[in-house]
Assembly symmetry: C2
């Protein structure tokens, strides 16, 4: 199968968001044009994105909302639930642990870790914060499919190396630092300063 562009995957997530909203409202049918308008793209792009994975519509009619929704969920790997652990029980880690939006899409936080003795043992979102020293064994035991990192930038690479060594294959980092992982590990980084910088760049270079 052809390599799928990252931008395609991002758009699929966006389409899915609309489909789920439409589903709740009881809408039965939609078109590539609807999805395009809502998602800020073109209908050709929508159809091309979907065409990489199959053909889900009916010509002349459009797409069945529940069908397409279910197909995209399957494509994105949301046909099952995923166990997530959060490493770093600071401000952002705590906020994420309590964030309800994850569960909606099948992401279940089943572990929270911190290396600060003061936090270990405390309760967070129905879980007891564990010591980071037990993280390696828990990852190796296959307790989690995804590791979310909310540790200070100085520790981030160490934690990455630890969990990768234990067999982790997917990491989402909120640490504002560039991390390296082997090629067979998926890493995504959310860097808030970087997002703000994209804004200031645009503001500063607005009219060129």
């Amino acid at each position: 199968m052809k390599r799928i562009a990252e931008s395609t995957v991002r758009r699929l997530s966006i389409y899915l968001g609309f489909l789920e909203k439409a589903e709740q409202r009881g809408v039965l049918t939609t078109s590539s044009d609807d999805l395009a308008k809502l998602g800020g793209t073109t209908s050709a792009q929508v159809r091309k994105d979907l065409s990489f994975f199959g053909s889900f519509g009916k010509r002349g009619l459009g797409y069945s909302v529940p069908e397409l929704s279910s197909h995209i969920r399957e494509i994105l790997g949301l046909g099952r639930s995923w166990n997530v652990c959060i490493v770093g029980a600071g401000k952002i880690g705590s906020a994420l642990a309590q964030y309800a939006g994850f569960a909606d899409r099948g992401f279940i936080v089943t572990g929270v870790y911190d290396s600060d003795r003061a936090r270990v043992g405390s309760r967070l979102a129905g879980l007891t914060v564990r010591d980071t020293t037990s993280l390696e064994a828990d990852v190796a035991a296959g307790e989690y499919e995804i590791v979310v990192l909310t540790v200070p930038p100085g520790n981030a690479q160490d934690v990455v190396d630890l969990v990768v060594g234990a067999g982790a294959k997917a990491i989402l980092s909120f640490a504002p630092t560039q991390l390296t992982v082997p090629a067979d590990v998926e890493l995504r980084t959310v860097n808030m300063a970087m997002e703000l910088e994209a804004l200031t760049f645009a503001l500063t270079n607005r009219d060129r």
Copy 2:
């Protein structure tokens, strides 16, 4: 001037991160190859990225770390400080308000808003949480250059419309919903579910 690709801006942020680290360590000189290796790209890409804005290196020698660093800061609009307000003093909003990483790059949180009476008036990161009813006037008065949104998805578009109406030109949203703004307003959205979905997509479609 030619339109600059978003990917170029993102890479400039990454280069800047390394340059600042190098600066702290007292490194005086670097090369496109160094920057490429650290940032996971190629030296040609680094040079091409920089070439859009000028020519900052010396052939045979490389780049002066402090010089290049300062040039990139200028390009990204970081040569000044920016006033930021946070709308939504929930878990994520509070975490961001207290996040030190912003100040390092010249982003100063000078206002926090919430529409929940219970939160209005409380203290957060040295600021008093204000009522969202005063947000429109404060934005119109030019108090903020950037609005950060950490409100529930249902309210996000309303707040966007409000601040855009008041003249806001740059918005960073953490609400997991697609938002629309006029063409002259910069909007970026950080959607954590979407990041996780990119991971599960990769995990699910790993070996095709």
